[in-house]
Symmetry: C2
């Protein structure tokens, strides 16, 4: 367990909940953005940092994927999954019919899209840096406003709860990863996250990579593309595969993949998450 | 060309620019959201609709992908690519140092992330339904505010331009698709967009699909995953491939892919975009 653990703060965010679940004894250090958590880990200001990477309703957290792509010092040391329950918070005494502004983090808005469209079709939607920052802004707002955040944020800021479990569907869970300067030793129940690119588009380039994995019975749990940002149609591919990079068969495969891609980065090997594990 | 063409409005959005480029003679009908454009096309209120699907800096437009996944009546009839130049707009006479609030569409904020972080680190970031809606909100705002939108929006609303070309990198281009109740006849220079799912995770499931394409020399231009929204680790896969679904080799391959997936939807076959084409 780390002594100091960075997270997207302030206190009351779902990232703090993940941090408490992962390392209850650590000193938790809040940062204002995912990029700031990454910079703090990369520079050694904190040993490890917790950031959200994927939600069951909204999909990937692009800030985190882009951070892993750009920051060559950061590795994924472990992952954990946290159930997410969103609450609608107001200043005590605020009536729902007076609310004209709703504050939250863009991911939370995405997870509560239908609730917001139906209940607040004309409200101003204000993007905050975190769900707790949204509560701070709501409490300081001169007129009637609401925030979407956690129950803990309501308690910390003395906000009133107007509605609970307002996400579009259940279950709503978020996968968090713990960033560090190195990844995890093999445990026998591991996964490995990688990122690769191709110099040119040709039939079967991606197939050539998947073939290396499939041919050795290695399951790809996930694959997706992020823009290279140079032009349309050029991508980083991100994949999660079963096994540890030090497993002989995985190591052999990654060696082969290096030969059929123009760049390959291993974000890290780490234990697969399972409850009570 | 359609008589009536829906787009994400009001006038002045980049979607309107795409609509004017695609069908300069059509009657343009603005809608407040991507979902509304989809509903208007699906119900026959307009013949076709233009929506953004992918940006070279920010990646996919999730609203559009989710619409295509959910709306079984909609097909992609064609695509076009539009260069995007963002402007910083204010009410005439507003001084940049007084700006405390910035309005825009989330995609535009994503494309101008560094500019906003550097120039307005403490501003409130307000998400509008479109870049033009952002200009309307900025003009109506009681105190000093700015909006990120197009040059045409500045002209339409009498806003003052404080900065131009504020996106993080150049070139910044967006791919738009035209939605209709049917796709396009073969032209010999086509692409096909598909979506598929697997009943269970097993080694090589995705590989099995890619093998069908690679084995016939069909290039996959893009592949990505979107959450099934049932649980973590379950995805829709979206892919763009070269060729038309009526081409014999593509038709044969799609037939085979049907056998190795639990669902396969063809979003449409349509001419690949090329300038002056």
């Amino acid at each position: 367990m780390p002594e100091q653990l960075g997270y997207l703060g302030p206190a009351g965010t779902y990232s703090e909940e993940a941090a408490l679940k992962y390392a209850p004894g650590a000193q938790l250090v809040p940062f204002p953005s995912v990029a700031a958590v990454g910079a703090a880990v990369g520079s050694g200001m904190v040993e490890e940092g917790v950031v959200a990477i994927e939600n069951s309703l909204e999909g990937s957290v692009n800030d985190t994927l882009d951070l892993l792509i750009q920051e060559s010092r950061l590795f994924i040391r472990t992952e954990l999954v946290v159930p997410i329950e969103h609450y609608l918070l107001v200043k005590p005494g605020t009536r729902v019919q007076d609310v004209r502004v709703v504050f939250s983090h863009p991911q939370a808005f995405g997870q509560c899209r239908r609730f917001v469209e139906r209940c607040f079709p004309k409200a101003q939607i204000v993007a905050a840096l975190s769900t707790t920052a949204a509560v701070e802004e709501m409490m300081a707002h001169p007129s009637a406003a609401a925030a979407i955040a956690s129950k803990r944020a309501a308690e910390l800021y003395g906000a009133q709860i107007l509605a609970r479990d307002i996400q579009d569907r259940l279950p709503n869970v978020t996968r968090f990863v713990v960033l560090a300067l190195s990844d995890h030793a093999p445990t026998g129940r591991d996964k490995t996250s990688i990122c690769f690119t191709f110099a040119e588009d040709k039939p079967g380039a991606l197939y050539g990579v998947l073939k290396e994995f499939a041919g050795r019975g290695i399951n790809l749990a996930k694959i997706e593309s992020r823009p290279l940002k140079e032009s349309l149609g050029k991508y980083f591919f991100l994949a999660d595969l079963e096994g540890h990079r030090e497993d002989r068969v995985v190591a052999e495969t990654l060696e082969r993949v290096t030969g059929v891609t123009s760049s390959l980065k291993v974000f890290g090997s780490y234990p697969r998450y399972h409850e009570n594990g």
